[in-house]
């Protein structure tokens, strides 16, 4: 199977730490058909979990269950248990609290029609942070972590919607980082981006792994191989296989996994 | 959940928002209740049958005769005349604006329609009685220009913007594929319009006509100023009539509180309220059925 091409080396999965989130029997349905059937998985600190699979396999439904974004859909029904640091995210945690600790990057960059600075500080401001000096520090720290500080540091007060697509997506990453979440969820974040911006996003992910847990849903198996420490393969609402990335791509245990990776279907 | 001052403030604001949401229901209920409160007393002196069907409206005679049939017929006559004029005109104009007019003209035409809808009814009534009524009197050699016909003309005019804009929406909502399909089969634009688009837009167009009817039926000032205010059963379109709305507006000032006349005027209000309720309900059902397609 292919080795990572751009020089990034995915560290072996053994450097992943303790369990951060546990998922037991997670089932999500919109109407009658379940999009996700009774899923069990653990997320660990310091890991990047890549999730691959064809469309409608439940990858996004899974992601959105982790920060309860499915609550916003009146047609979504969720069953099962998800715990963050041992705490049940539905029964013992409010959605707002949860989302401050589990952040999300969407497929299309959505800069709010505010200045760059106000975009980044949106989360902290809603959480009650008022001090301007604190906010300014957060802005610089997060823009640096998203590998976009140098490009925008002179125009923090200008509208974020004037940035290029790649810059906007990195802005969205910085915006999510401002809340210092423990877990960051990426929902096909590079689908609209050029290769250079994609590379920058992947670089920042590898850096962020040192302090956070990352979950990446991607349609691009090569990206999953480059970035993920563990990879999971989803098919039609089930997690078919999960394991260290290099093993998944060189010696998958399920025939379906190999078929997908090789390209027999997609 | 922590009970911070922010959360308390949010809770109160969200409760206020919910109450405001209920406001419309509350106001509709209040209108009905307060009309009923006074109007139901008319039944003390007049039975329901003789109120609704009585042929004579002599509120100031003693004893008062409070039959609203002439008023109902007056409203119906004026409305029917207005709708006969406004619906074909309005639908035709809507088709022109939505489908045929060149793009530059479309904005100008839509602006004209918007201006028409903005003209206050009393201004139209003023022009009606100053210009239209003498004109009709001369042209048609009538004893007076204050007739149901004048009323119908004015009201047709006032209903046009409603009919045009809602029909236009319905026409624009017809999926492009219907039109493209017909044109690809060799139909001309005109054929496409009257075979395909009309069918797709029909529920919306009917709703537009109904809302136009509702608007006309409830119109007060313009009608009052040009229809002559004779509360008798009309026999032709070219006589003075009195509508339900004009009756209330013209006589409320003179009806002493607590008299049968006073109660009767409120009862007329109830009749108007119920009729507009039914018309608007039907129109809304039609609009939603049209949209679901």
């Amino acid at each position: 199977m292919s080795r990572p091409e751009n020089g990034l080396v995915c560290p072996p999965a053994s450097t992943a730490g303790e369990v951060k989130m546990t998922v037991r029997g997670l089932t999500v349905s919109y109407g009658k058909t379940p999009a996700l059937k009774s899923l069990n998985v653990d997320l660990r600190t310091h890991e990047i979990l890549s999730i691959i699979g064809p469309s409608n396999s439940g990858k996004t439904s899974f992601l959105r269950s982790l920060n309860r974004m499915n609550d916003l859909d009146p047609h979504a029904r969720t069953a099962g248990e998800v715990r963050l640091d041992g705490v049940d995210i539905v029964r013992d945690l409010s959605a707002e609290e949860l989302r401050k600790r589990v952040g999300m990057i969407f497929a299309m960059p959505v800069p709010l029609p505010l200045s760059i600075r106000d975009n980044i500080t949106y989360g902290p401001r809603m959480a009650g942070v008022r001090d301007a000096a604190t906010l300014d520090a957060v802005v610089e720290e997060c823009l640096r972590a998203a590998y976009v500080w140098d490009e925008v540091k002179d125009r923090l007060k200008t509208s974020a919607q004037k940035l290029s697509g790649g810059q906007q997506q990195r802005l969205c990453i910085a915006r999510t980082l401002a809340l210092k979440p423990d877990v960051i969820l990426y929902d096909e974040p590079c689908s609209g981006l050029d290769p250079i911006s994609t590379a920058k996003v992947e670089e920042s992910m590898v850096e962020l792994r040192k302090k956070h847990t990352l979950v990446l849903v991607t349609n691009n198996t090569k990206q999953a191989a480059r970035v993920g420490t563990r990879t999971a393969f989803f098919l039609m609402g089930e997690m078919v296989e999960i394991g260290p990335t290099d093993r998944m791509f060189t010696a998958p245990q399920d025939q379906r996994t190999e078929d997908y990776i090789v390209g027999r279907f997609g | 959940m922590k009970l911070s001052p922010r959360r308390i403030r949010e809770f109160l604001i969200e409760k206020l928002i919910f109450l405001s949401g209920l406001a419309s229901i509350v106001f509709v209920a209040l209108i009905f209740i307060f009309l009923l409160r006074e109007g139901v007393s008319v039944l003390k002196t007049t039975s329901l049958g003789s109120f609704l069907g009585g042929k004579f409206w002599y509120p100031i005679s003693n004893p008062a005769k409070l039959g609203i049939l002439p008023l109902i017929l007056g409203s119906l006559l004026v409305t029917a005349g207005a709708i006969l004029i406004a619906v074909p005109l309005g639908i035709a104009a809507a088709f022109y604006i939505a489908e045929v007019a060149p793009k530059r003209w479309r904005t100008i035409l839509k602006t004209c329609v918007e201006v028409l809808s903005a003209i206050p009814s009393v201004v139209l009534g003023f022009l009606g009685i100053t210009v239209l009524v003498p004109f009709l009197k001369n042209i048609l050699h009538l004893p007076t220009g204050l007739t149901a016909f004048s009323g119908s003309l004015m009201l047709a005019f006032m209903a046009l913007p409603t009919i045009i804009t809602i029909s236009e929406d319905a026409i624009n909502a017809v999926p492009r594929e219907y039109k493209d399909g017909a044109l690809a089969l060799g139909a001309t634009h005109w054929q496409t319009l009257y075979r395909v688009v009309i069918h797709g837009a029909l529920p919306g167009i009917i709703a537009a006509a109904m809302l136009g009817i509702g608007r006309v039926f409830g119109e007060t000032m313009a009608v009052m100023m040009v229809t002559g205010n004779a509360a008798v059963i009309p026999h032709t379109l070219f006589e003075p009539v009195r509508t339900l709305t004009a009756t209330i507006a013209a006589e409320m000032g003179e009806a002493a509180k607590g008299t049968p006349h006073y109660f009767a005027l409120f009862a007329v209000g109830i009749v108007l309220f119920i009729i507009s309720f039914v018309i608007n309900l039907t129109a809304d059902i039609l609009l939603h059925r049209g949209r679901k397609r």
Partner: protein, 280 residues
């Protein structure tokens, strides 16, 4: 030309004719009022009190009364209408209550103006004992214009992209915070448009104020909410139908002021709306 082609020409011609029949009288009306009313406009017409049984002097009290009524009714209707629209757009679920609210709004919009007048008389003037006053009239007008504000505000809220709300929620904001910081700021121009359209509508209404506030003639200008007031549309009605011997250009002048005010409001609202659309 083929048969079909000829039929199309005729058909389109008929449609064009219909449109002319609609459009030409509108322009004629506006031009007529401008032409005949312009002459009456003068400093004294606009800013002095009427004299000689309204046959001379000015229409100042009618203008002032209308201004009071408009302000007071919008002050009442705007907050309630905007909040009701926020409820329907951001909070309401798809259930029977929501359907009932929507039905109520449609009905409120369809009630005849004179029925509103009766309602205002019965509830505000008599039952709540406000008497014939600006407060009675404005509350009546406010309730009447509520559907307009709710509908335009809802459209403005709907035009804000759903993704803004998603992003705000994903950053841990509560629903009210999302509405307040991510949605409302970008709906403001739409809300403003609705308010201005309402002002134009309220200024021109006669029937609701007939029994609730309008006075035939007042020697002094109104000073407070409990005063009666004269108003432009009612004034036009009176001098057209109840008082003989008023010079014609005086009547046209009053009509001109009224329709001028309404059209200025409509034009302002349209300009704001198209500017906001262009920004998107």
């Amino acid at each position: 030309m083929t048969n079909e082609g000829r039929r199309q020409k005729v058909g389109f011609g008929v449609l064009l004719l219909a449109t002319f029949i609609v459009v030409i009288p509108v322009t004629a009306i506006v031009l007529l009022i401008v032409a005949k009313g312009w002459g009456a406009l003068s400093w004294s017409f606009l800013f002095t009190m009427p004299r000689e049984g309204m046959r001379a002097g000015g229409i100042l009290p009618a203008i002032v009364g209308t201004v009071y009524l408009v302000f007071a009714s919008i002050a009442f209707a705007l907050p309630i209408g905007v909040m009701a629209a926020i409820y329907l757009s951001e909070y309401a679920k798809d259930n029977a209550l929501t359907r009932t609210i929507n039905l109520a709004i449609i009905n409120l919009a369809g009630v005849s103006s004179v029925v509103f007048g009766l309602f205002g008389l019965s509830l505000f003037v008599i039952f709540l004992k406000f008497g014939v006053s600006i407060i009675s009239g404005s509350l009546t007008l406010g309730i009447m214009t509520l559907p307009v504000i709710i509908t335009t505000t809802r459209e403005a809220l709907r035009a804000v992209p759903r993704s803004y709300r998603e992003v705000s929620f994903s950053l841990g904001a509560s629903r009210w915070q999302t509405v307040r910081h991510a949605v409302l700021p970008h709906a403001l121009s739409g809300i403003l448009t609705g308010a201005i359209l309402s002002i134009g509508r309220v200024a021109g209404e006669t029937a609701p104020i007939l029994f609730t506030v309008a006075a035939f003639y007042l020697p002094n200008l109104p000073t407070g909410l409990s005063d009666q007031a004269m108003a432009l549309p009612y004034h036009l009605y009176i001098i057209t139908t109840q008082i003989p011997g008023i010079p014609e250009n005086y009547r046209y002048g009053t009509a001109f002021v009224l329709i001028g005010f309404v059209l200025i409001m409509n034009i302002t609202a349209t300009v704001i709306r198209s500017k906001a659309r262009r920004k998107r």
